[in-house]
Symmetry: C2
Subunit: 471 residues, 2 copies
C-alpha cells in the first residue's frame, strides 16, 4: 500500500446506516445499495482494488444534491461524486465507505449561447453527447480525453486530451461552475463574462479538486467554432527524438497545430493490429490543423518541411473527413489497441508531463527502462504539451509482475520530477499518485492545499482519502 | 466611504515601531520611512485617498522577502507588496498602515527556455523591459496592460490587455509562482511542465489574489513566438453596435484575431488630438492579426468583408511595422489622450466585462447614462472579450461632480452584473470594487474566499483591507 494512500478505515457504521436510511426515505428507488451497483461505483481503470461505497444515489437536480450533502454532512458520512467512472487513479473509490452521488440523470444542456461561444450544462452529460447536441450550431467543445467521460468528471480531474496543445485543458475551458459545498450551500464560482479579475479564482480552484471540495452540479463551458477546414495526417520519423524536435520547431514557428500526437513504434504496431491499418512501424506523429482551407494547406506544407529537416516524412495529409476520422478513431482507440500486444493482460495506464525540451530524453530513457524491466508498455504522447502516456500490460494474477510494474512507475515519476515535470499531466491524483505530491510540490504547497481543504470541508466528508492525506 | 472599504484603522503603533526598528536594523538604508517615499507608495491611479504605509523596504532576493515577512508576522504588522504602483483600485494603499515591500530591485530575468516557450523572472521587471530582453530570441510575452507594469503586480491583479482575445490573461500565461506565504515559508505553486493535474491549482489561486495571500517573488511565464507576420489597421463603423456585431462574427468565424479594440467616437477624437492622427470621429475598431504572410493577409481580407456586412469600412490595413506601431502607440496612449478633452481634470479609470452578446447594449446604455449625467467619459474596449473601459474626467475639487461620477460608476457595475458580467474585467478589486463582490459572487463564494484567506493568512497581515472585509 503506497504511503499516502488512505487506508480503508470506514466511518462509523451507525452513522452510515442513519444517513442511508434518511436518503432512502427521501429518494426511494433512486438510492441503491445492491452489491453490484456499489461495486460498479467503487473502482476506476486502475490497479487500486475495488472499494465500494455503502450506497449510490441518483440525483436529478442541484437541489437533490444539496439535500444529499446536507443529510451526509449531518451524519459525517463521506460523499463521492461519480460521473462515468472512467478516471484512472482511483478517484471514485470509497476507501472510507460513504455515499456515491452518480450524476448520470443530470445530463441536460441548459443553454447554448452561440454568440458568446459558451454553453451551460449539467455535469452528467458526456463529451460526445454534448458535441452531438452542439453540432448543428457550428460550435464544439474541444477537450477529448480517451473515454467518453462526463463533463463534471472532466472538470473535477482537470483533464485534457489531444486538442489541448491548441485549445487548452479543462482549466482553460470552464467559465464558471455551480458547486454544492460541504455544508450543502450552493456556490457559483464566476459570472458568464469571458474574463474577470474580481477576487480569487474559485473556478480554477474547483477544476482539478477531484470532488474533495464540493460536488459540481452545473458548468458553463467555453466553446469553439467548428473550423471551416481541417487537415490531418501521419508522419513517420527515424526516432522519438526526431518526433520531439520536429514538434518543438513546429510550435516555435507559430504553426497553430490543433493536434500533434506521438506514437512509439510499439504503439503503432498495436494500432495497426487493432484498427487494421498499415502504418510504418516506427515512431510517428499524428497531426491535425484547423483553419481556413488556405491556412490548413499552408500549415500542413510547412509542417512537412519541418519534418524533413529532422529526417522524417513523408507527411501524408488530407482534408477528406472520412480519412481523417479513420485516423483519429485509431488514435482514440490506441489505449484499447494495446490489448492486442498481450491478449488476456490487464491495462494499467499512467501519464507524466515534462517541459517539452526534456521530452525526447524522458521518453527515450523510459523506453530503455521498459526494455530493461521486461515490460510491455507502448507510449502515446500529447507531445505539443510534453505529456505522454504509457499503457503497462500486466498479468494482474502475477504479484512479481505487479511489483516490477509499480517499481517502474515510481522511476517514471521520479524521472519526470527530476526534469521539472509533473507526476500526472492529465489523469489527476486520485489515490494512485498521492504519494508523489510532496516530492512534486514541496511541503508549503501541500500544506496550503490541506489548509484550503480544511477551511472548505472542515468535517472532511468530501471524497476523503484522495489527493493528499489530511493527518 | 463605500460599505466594504476598510476604514483606515491602524494597527498597534508600538508593534509597527518594533517591526520597523527590526527591519531598519536588518536592511539599513533599504528601509525608508521618509514621508515622500511613503506617500508615493500609498496610492494608485484612483479616487481613493492616499493611505501611506509606515515604511517602505526594498528587498533584493526571495530570502530578503522571507525575512521581512517573518519580522512583520512576529509583530502582526500589515505587509503590502508593491510593483510599479500603476494599479487602479487602491491595491497598494495601506489603510491599516504597515510595511510596503517594493520589489523594484528584484528585476532580473533568471532563465529563458526558448524551446519550452517559457522564462523565469523576478517580480519587479516590467513588461516592456522583459520584452526588450526577449526580443533577440524570437519570443515575447503578450500581456500588455496600459501601464508598463511589473510582472509581479500583473500576476497579482490578474491583468490582461489588448492581446487577451488571442493570448489570454495572466491566468493563462503564468506557469508557476514562488510565493512567500504569511508565515515566511516559500511556496512553489507548480512545476515548469506546461500542464498538470496534480492537486489544487495554487498558481491560479495566487494569480488575482492581489497580495492578500502572499508575496510573489518569482514567476515562470509562458512565452509566445514572435509572429512571422503582423497586419493591423483601423475600421470605422456607423455605430458601437455595428462594431460589436462585426467582432462577434469575426470570432465566430474562427479568425484568430490578435487584437480587436473598440474606441467610441469621443475616444477617437481624444486620440486624434493627442497623437496627431486624422481618424474619422466615429466608433472604430483597431485590429491586429498574427500569422504567416499569407494568413495575415487572408485574415485581414476576411475581416474587411465582415465589416462591410455590418456597414463598416473601409478596413485600412498594413503589414508595415512603422505604421502599425504608430497606431498601437496611439491606442496605448488612449488613456492619457483623454486629458485633451478636459485639460486640468483628473482621470478616473474603471472597467467592466459582460458576455459579448450583451456588449453593444451595455456600451450603448452606458453612453446614454454618460450623456444624461453630464459626464465626459470616453470608452475603449477589448471587445473580443466583452471588456470595456471608461475614463471619467472629473474635477476632483468639486464634490458634486465626484458624487455624480460615483453614482454613475455604481450604475455601470449594476448594469454589467445584470447582464451576467463582472464588476471588473482586468483592473482587480483593490478597495475600489470591494462593495460589489457580494452582488457579483453571492454569499457562498465570498465566504469561500474569506475561508481561504483565513486559512492561509490567519493573522490577516497580507495586504489587509483589500478584495473583501474579513469581519
Amino acid at each position: 500500500m503506497p504511503v499516502e494512500t488512505s487506508a480503508p478505515v470506514r466511518r462509523d457504521p451507525k452513522a452510515i446506516e442513519a444517513a442511508v436510511g434518511a436518503l432512502a426515505a427521501r429518494f426511494g428507488n433512486r438510492l441503491v445499495t445492491s452489491q453490484a451497483v456499489r461495486q460498479q461505483h467503487g473502482n476506476t481503470v486502475t490497479w487500486i482494488e475495488n472499494q465500494p461505497p455503502d450506497a449510490v444515489v441518483f440525483p436529478q437536480s442541484t437541489e437533490d444534491v444539496q439535500e444529499i450533502v446536507r443529510i451526509c454532512a449531518a451524519h459525517r458520512v463521506p460523499i463521492i461524486p461519480f460521473g462515468t467512472g472512467t478516471s484512472l487513479e482511483g478517484h471514485v473509490n470509497a476507501p472510507q465507505g460513504g455515499v456515491s452521488i452518480d450524476v448520470r440523470d443530470m445530463n441536460q444542456v441548459l443553454a447554448v449561447h452561440a454568440e458568446d461561444l459558451d454553453c451551460v450544462i449539467q455535469p452528467g452529460i458526456t463529451r460526445k453527447a454534448l458535441n452531438e447536441y452542439l453540432r448543428d450550431q457550428g460550435v464544439f467543445f474541444p477537450i477529448d480525453p480517451g473515454a467518453d467521460a462526463s463533463l463534471g468528471g472532466m472538470a473535477a480531474t482537470r483533464c485534457s486530451g489531444t486538442n489541448a496543445v491548441r485549445y487548452g485543458t479543462m482549466k482553460d475551458n470552464v467559465l464558471s461552475l455551480k458547486v454544492v459545498m460541504a455544508n450543502g450551500e450552493l456556490m457559483t464560482t464566476a459570472r458568464r463574462a469571458k474574463k474577470s479579475s474580481a477576487g480569487y479564482d474559485l473556478t480554477r480552484m474547483m477544476v482539478g479538486s477531484e470532488g474533495t471540495l464540493g460536488v459540481i452540479t452545473e458548468l458553463t463551458l467555453k466553446l469553439s467554432g467548428i473550423p471551416e477546414a481541417i487537415s490531418g495526417g501521419t508522419c513517420p520519423f527515424p526516432s522519438v527524438e526526431a518526433c520531439c524536435n520536429a514538434t518543438i520547431m513546429t510550435i516555435q514557428s507559430g504553426i497553430p497545430v490543433a493536434r500533434i500526437e506521438l506514437l512509439d513504434a510499439l504503439q503503432v504496431r498495436a494500432v495497426n493490429l487493432y484498427s487494421k491499418l498499415a502504418l510504418r512501424e516506427t515512431p510517428m506523429l499524428f497531426l491535425e490543423f484547423h483553419g481556413t482551407e488556405g491556412s490548413v494547406a499552408e500549415q500542413s506544407e510547412r509542417f512537412g518541411e519541418i519534418a524533413e529537416e529532422f529526417g522524417g516524412g513523408p507527411f501524408e495529409w488530407t482534408v477528406r473527413p472520412e480519412e481523417r476520422t479513420k485516423l483519429w478513431e485509431a488514435r482514440h482507440n490506441a489505449a484499447f489497441s494495446t490489448f492486442t500486444l498481450r491478449p488476456g493482460s490487464s491495462m494499467i495506464p499512467t501519464d507524466v508531463c515534462v517541459p517539452i525540451s526534456r521530452l525526447a530524453e524522458c521518453v527515450t530513457e523510459t523506453q530503455r527502462d521498459i526494455a530493461e524491466s521486461d515490460l510491455i508498455a507502448p507510449i502515446v504522447g500529447h507531445v505539443g504539451d510534453g505529456n505522454f502516456h504509457l499503457t503497462l500490460l500486466v498479468d494482474m494474477q502475477n504479484p512479481d509482475e505487479i511489483k516490477v510494474a509499480k517499481a517502474f512507475n515510481e522511476r517514471l515519476v521520479e524521472r519526470a520530477l527530476a526534469m521539472d515535470g509533473t507526476c500526472t499531466g492529465e489523469h489527476g491524483v486520485g489515490q494512485g499518485k498521492m504519494k508523489y505530491l510532496l516530492a512534486e510540490h514541496g511541503a508549503p504547497a501541500l500544506e496550503a492545499m490541506r489548509a484550503i481543504k480544511r477551511a472548505l470541508d472542515p468535517q472532511g466528508i468530501m471524497n476523503p482519502g484522495k489527493i493528499f492525506a489530511l493527518s
